[in-house]
Amino acid sequence: MTAPTPLLSARALTKQFGGRNGCRNVSFDLYPGEVLCIVGESGSGKTTLLNTLALRTEADSGTLHYTSANRDHLDLRALSEPRRRLLMRTEWGFVQQNPREGLRTGVSAGANIGEPLMAVGARHYGQIRATATQWMERVELDATRIDELPAAFSGGMQQRLQIARNLVTGPRLVFMDEPTAGLDVSVQARLLDLLRSLTATLHLSVLIVTHDIGVARLLAHRLMVMQGGEVVEAGLTDQVLDDPQHPYTQTLVSSVLPV
């Protein structure tokens, strides 16, 4: 049996802002169906790394490769803008920390879920609507509220709406920037449960940024711990959390309040 090809592979990826902050020298491979969590304190470069990987900011140096659905090995940093956008529309999703940034607030929930479909050429209203209804149900939203504006939904519902919008095109890789931050604990738990079942059933590869060790423990197969822009420790989730090697990881793990 041959080793599976990584979906996304980064080597010595660096993005800095005037020689400071950002992320330095990050290398990893993400395999199909894998959930990789990036944890670290605020200011450790997690979000910068995620944005660089999702091509939302241009990397300074390093290489970034992606294996597309038709087995093309793409050099993402050299990819042209139209190809990048096509990739983002068809194979990727990006879930923002604040759902209002990821949603179009001026149009209904159904239109928000339907927009990615229309962007890839869906031109049948009935079908778009049926798919949107289906996805509302999948993320446990009341499908009869399909015509309401995002503002009419609660924070947790908006986050689920954003997740539905990102998954509707059947992406292979989803980036998530602290998807559960800013939600109350019970809503967080339900959302995490939902995410876990969705990633498993859809065989998604997910890159999650979080500062919440609990999120990492629950969702991630593998973990990368960042401090000061560098990856200080990486490995299987349980391994890293149960037997932290780096002093920073040890502090991080021990700083979780026992319930």
Binding site: R89, G110, A111, G114, E115, R123, G126, D147
Partner: protein, 302 residues
Amino acid sequence: MNARDTAAAAPEYDSAAEGYNFAYLDEQTKRMIRRALLKAVAVPGYQVPFAAREMPLPFGWGTGGIQVTASIIGRDDTLKVIDQGSDETTNAVNIRRFFARTAGVKTTRRTVEASIVQTRHRIPETPLTDKQILVYQVPNPEPLFRLEPRVAESRKLHALADYGLISVKLYEDIVHHGSIATTYDYPVIVNNRYLASPSPIPKYDNPKMHMNAALQLFGAGRERRIHAIPPYTPVRSLDFDDHPFEVQSWDHACALCGSTNSFLDEMIVDDSGKRMFVCSDSDYCHERRTEQAGANEAGEQA
């Protein structure tokens, strides 16, 4: 009446515009606009930026259209100006007088006689020919404006032909009204490439833009953009497969000329709410009535 048709170039108007260049704008400005026009014609539907000048009328009254007309008009041209289909409304009367004075050109109300038709809100019912140019006054040339407020981003969307967003607008229409309720300024795809806003013409006129023999120029003065549809260019109105594009229809015929295939205006004629439907294209209606009168007379004589 203050805007008589000038069958020949009227010398008394020339004197009124003494000290002005032909057709008001200076030659350098006209060259600049013509360059923009050439580019617009070369890339159908693409919005070409141009340095719109201050014109002696407020933005929204046709500053874009008037600048385009001023830069393409010649001494041998015959100008017709319509506003909401009519030659008699304030905007039409004033712009017609403006060019009669500053360019001394012939003006007309008959669509067939005109070589340049400047229009606001309508395309004439009488089919245009390849000898004619239709100039539109455009308030907002950007169809994505309400959906994507960032100008740089919407230009990128145009460049990449990434037009999923405009379908969202149509989707929302169906959600709220049960059908695509956009009745004017209905978005079109020009030459199978660029998304364009056809200026606030009713969607009834959209099919007339498709493969039209006349050159169609769009000038937006405040937004400083020019776009164009060259003769015989395919223009497709956007729709959904299960909600196809449809034009308006009326249960009435024009109360004056009896036409059943023109765009009708609903007019309330008294305090008790009595209404009447008449052609919005005043020239079309007038021509038909003249024809009918002629036929009646011939009938009586026989």
